[in-house]
Symmetry: C2
Subunit: 354 residues, 2 copies
């Protein structure tokens, strides 16, 4: 059996309608609402074929048809028209997010929120994370009699603090000296290249602070390795409650449980697979391997943060989500983020606060 043009038009009608109404749709309704020039009976025959081909399915005998996962897949891959964002939508995004790179967390938070409002789905945004960062500068700062802070500036300009506790903390001048020595050590080298001999020499030079210096190095190295504490910003979880497919509280609870787990969210956003880096990905229903999210689809994308660093954005909605709008919105926001962050990191534009 071939998937001819008419079948495709019918499938498209079914999907469009189902996305809008969440109700199974029958042959007569299609004939009435969509001007295909054929009778309900013919549509019935075609639908029967479509069902056999696996693009639609029937909840029960006397109900209309509903798109299947395979049907959606065909739709998003071939049929869906990407639509332009309305100027209201563009404005909304522009106003809702203060693109201020000095306050990344705030910006991410706002992004998640704005997307959730605009799409009325749930959004998840992760902080940009670096694949391969190197250290640009290290500075030690006195905090207390037995504490100092090690501030590490990475070359993606993110700044990490570590508190170092030790019984014997150098004074401010010494801290500055040690900072300078560490900086000259790591200059133009990746942290892996630093030989333990170098560290030993430094420890020897400041022999009474050996404990302290060892801890500093440990902390600095951990900055690079630190993978686990990616921040994840979620918004609009409650939106899902508005959709009839989740009006069953038990179902909703499961989904919410998943969306509360940071680890889950990270896998959801496709940890690691940066292969399809710049493309928007659509994961339909059971294609994600999480039982609880069987009835959800995810539209996700990466945004770039300078050269080495990517963050992820995902929008989670019911399987019958409005893919077209979602993709457009996501495209827009990724473009915006790429621009603003790119400009910042590469220092192309002015952007100096007054």
């Amino acid at each position: 059996m071939k998937l001819n043009d008419r079948k495709i038009r019918i499938l498209e009608a079914i999907i469009t309608d189902y996305i809008a109404t969440a109700e199974p749709i029958g042959s007569r309704t299609i004939a009435r609402k969509y001007d295909l020039g054929i009778s309900p009976a013919t549509i019935r025959n075609e639908m029967s074929d479509l069902e056999e081909l696996g693009f639609i399915e029937q909840p029960h005998t006397s109900a209309g048809r509903v798109p299947s996962q395979k049907g959606y897949r065909l739709y998003v891959d071939n049929l869906m028209q990407s639509r332009e964002l309305s100027s209201e939508e563009v404005d909304f995004l522009k106003n809702a997010i203060s693109f201020n790179v000095n306050r990344i967390e705030y910006m991410m938070e706002q992004t998640a929120k704005a997307l959730a409002m605009l799409t009325s789905y749930t959004t998840v945004v992760t902080e940009p994370r670096s694949k391969k960062v190197s250290i640009r500068h290290v500075q030690l700062i006195p905090v207390d009699r037995d504490e100092a802070a090690a501030v590490v500036v990475l070359d993606n300009k993110s700044i990490k603090n570590h508190i170092i506790r030790s019984r014997n903390i150098p004074d401010t001048d010494k801290l500055n000296n040690i900072s300078a020595e560490i900086n000259s050590l790591i200059k133009d080298r990746s942290i892996e290249d630093i030989k333990s001999g170098d560290v030993a020499r430094l420890v020897e030079k400041y022999t009474s602070y050996s404990d302290f210096i060892t801890k500093v190095f440990k902390a600095v190295i951990s900055t690079i390795q630190q993978q686990e504490d990616v921040h994840v910003y979620t918004s609009g979880v409650r939106n899902l409650l508005g959709f009839p497919e989740f009006s069953d509280v038990a179902k909703a609870k499961n989904i919410f449980q998943t969306l509360e787990e940071k680890d889950m969210l990270i896998t959801l956003l496709g940890e690691g697979d940066d292969t399809s880096a710049d493309k928007i990905q659509i994961i339909i229903g059971g294609e994600n391997n999480m039982e609880e999210l069987r009835d959800c689809s995810i539209v996700r994308a990466n945004y770039r943060f300078g050269k080495n660093s990517v963050g992820k954005i995902g929008i989670i909605g019911p399987t019958r989500m409005n893919y077209s709008q979602t993709v457009s919105v996501l495209n827009e926001i990724v473009k915006k983020l790429d621009n603003v962050i790119g400009a910042f990191v590469d220092g192309k534009d002015g952007g100096y606060d007054e």
Copy 2:
């Protein structure tokens, strides 16, 4: 009419039962389940009185009785037995939270999560915030050709970073010098005491960096004023979906909406009112002034972080929540936090990582 001992025992039975079952409870059930030695008829008479006194109410004529807000209030204030935590519960908390003060955010996150799991309610934890902080140390760090970071160490040992962008950034040595001058300026003074004259003198001394220095001062001062970005950690929102009182999706949605708003959460935890600082507070149903949370109660407490700084913890559940357990758990966790953080801030114990 007097609230005699028997009435109180009946009220207690009603509340206990309602907390467990969420079902209105009638006279016969009380007579059967609670061994009060009186007949249903007598209980009916007493219940009629209790209703007149406003401690219980009747959803509709032929239903049992349900505790009223006033009833709960009496219960938590006078009747409720504080119960010891079981050793399993104590262990659970100990294992679930890694009390590592170097990673405050992580600890807060874990605390929220652990409490949510243990109580099966929703928990909200705010970062400790200082009433009145002063600055202990400022350090400027080079980042880029046209950027530097200002790292501010507060006397509660929290560390804040600011990125300063300016066309003309001093080199590392100069940054150290300027840092030193700023530090000697603020030493033993509150930031308000710094006269604009002082700043002007510094600007004059480093005249080519006037833009930069001005911005640094602005950033440093904003650290102190920065109120808005308190971190709030929430967990177990989905737990609420498990309770029959929220099985109405529309209701649940409202509550979720509120719990997604950071501002709401902060007011909920009682922004500002540090009067009853060390006591656990219980807010029953409509006593909070948020329409959406009419059916929720909140049990909240402050925990201390050093001398000047407090964070807040709140547990949100249905009005018929298990107050006794919740209070015990909260007590325990506050004690734990006070201890671990207190020890850290005051530097009393060793606690040096090896």
